[in-house]
Symmetry: C2
Subunit: 256 residues, 2 copies
């Protein structure tokens, strides 16, 4: 493969919780020095892109905004393109990303990782929008099952999307990973074909297998939400496994 671009998940790859993965910033710089194009694809939807950039900066990662593609902004793009008025089931910290969007008289439901905001009342409100009409789309930023919080693995938005899919008897449309469109948007922005790109992530299904399905090479790292069982699923096989981001970069740079 002629490697031209590296797509990188952020949470669980560059950092775990509030701590950067040791050596990750230097490894990123080695990728840049090798002339590779970079893009950061995140389904983190508990904060805005701006807040994400500030948090990364605080951990020693200097990443230009236009290299970061978030599932939340992809959802906003979908809503604007189709002229939808969404009922938003999102984290309060994400609200600034949705300023200026009409949310009255909702004809769509948009769901992100609302965290503690996933109450019975909030889910019920979204359900009642869905049952107004079978044509109301359920737009989900991601399908992630769980993430690694400081006190253990914790539910991400995926299970709540599944709940609304079941209640509303419809399939969600995804705007972030694992949607092929999310990877395709990144490849188009970089002007690199999928076959010349890799994706590095800690989420077997949504980062790695989804990227492989979109034609990229997938690398699973053994950090973040990774569990040893992830390497034993006969149906979901990563093409490459690395102990962490630094090792993944070492392997990539040796291969070119």
């Amino acid at each position: 493969m002629s490697l031209a671009a590296v797509l990188i998940d952020i949470d669980g790859v560059l950092h775990v919780g509030a701590a950067p993965v040791s050596g990750a910033a230097a490894a990123l710089q080695r990728l840049r020095d090798a002339g590779l194009r970079l893009a950061f694809l995140t389904n983190t939807t508990r904060r805005t892109r701006q807040a994400l950039i500030e948090s990364l900066d605080g951990m020693g990662f200097d990443i230009p905004p236009d290299e970061i593609q978030t599932a939340a902004l992809a959802a906003r793009a979908v809503v604007e393109r189709r002229g939808l008025r969404p009922h938003l089931l999102i984290h309060p910290d994400l609200a600034p990303d949705w300023e200026g969007v009409r949310t009255d008289d909702a004809n769509a439901v948009v769901i992100g990782d609302a965290g503690e905001g996933f109450t019975y009342a909030a889910l019920n409100e979204a359900f009642r929008v869905l049952i107004r009409d079978d044509a109301v789309p359920l737009i989900a930023m991601g399908a992630n099952r769980y993430f690694r919080a400081t006190d253990g693995l914790s539910l991400d938005m995926g299970p709540f999307v599944a709940a609304l899919e079941f209640a509303g008897r419809r399939q969600a449309e995804y705007t972030g990973k694992p949607a092929a469109a999310f990877f395709e948007t990144a490849m188009a922005a970089l002007d690199v074909p999928a076959a010349n790109a890799v994706m590095i992530g800690d989420d077997l299904e949504n980062d790695v297998v989804a990227a492989q399905d979109a034609g990229l090479h997938g690398i699973l790292v053994r950090t973040g939400k990774y569990r040893p069982q992830d390497e034993q699923d006969p149906k979901l096989q990563p093409q490459t496994v690395a102990d962490n981001f630094v090792e993944a970069v070492r392997g990539l740079l040796e291969s070119i």
Copy 2:
């Protein structure tokens, strides 16, 4: 068909909210007078059987306890038969039905309609029990999507079961409707073959189609959670539709 037994859902059939369906108590008596065996099958899991009986009595229905089969008690029977120690995700009012059951060091998750108790924290706790081991069973009292509350259709336990199925990557085992075993237990107690019984309910999937799948004749009533769309689903067809319980009984008594 030689009719011998009538199985009846309670909420949405005998009463809607706190109000009995007009004429329902007299219609029940006509079924008894005709020599038909009766059983009441409910997935209501927000209160104990005793509380249910008292509530029905207050609405003018005099139903002996042994005619009432609840999904919650069926769950307890499963747990005891298999010697499981359940993590209980249930409504606090249902707790008396679970007295004496060991819940420490959980090796199973049991989920009922917890209502407002379906918080992020409670679902996360159940999820963490599931991911301890792929063999931990997820035992669900029902798969009901929604019920009719006083302020509109509201989420029942089904969507939250779907959330935990997705998060824990396993299928739930149902103890109430739509499980065939729930209907079979009722038929065995009445000593009547399924082919000689009907089920009257307001839930197209969990009462009517599930009963039909178990070999009974299904009657959908247009009360409770019924919606006109229920008669338009090409994949889920009730064998009979009646305006309400009284009309369903009239039809049955005319047919024998």
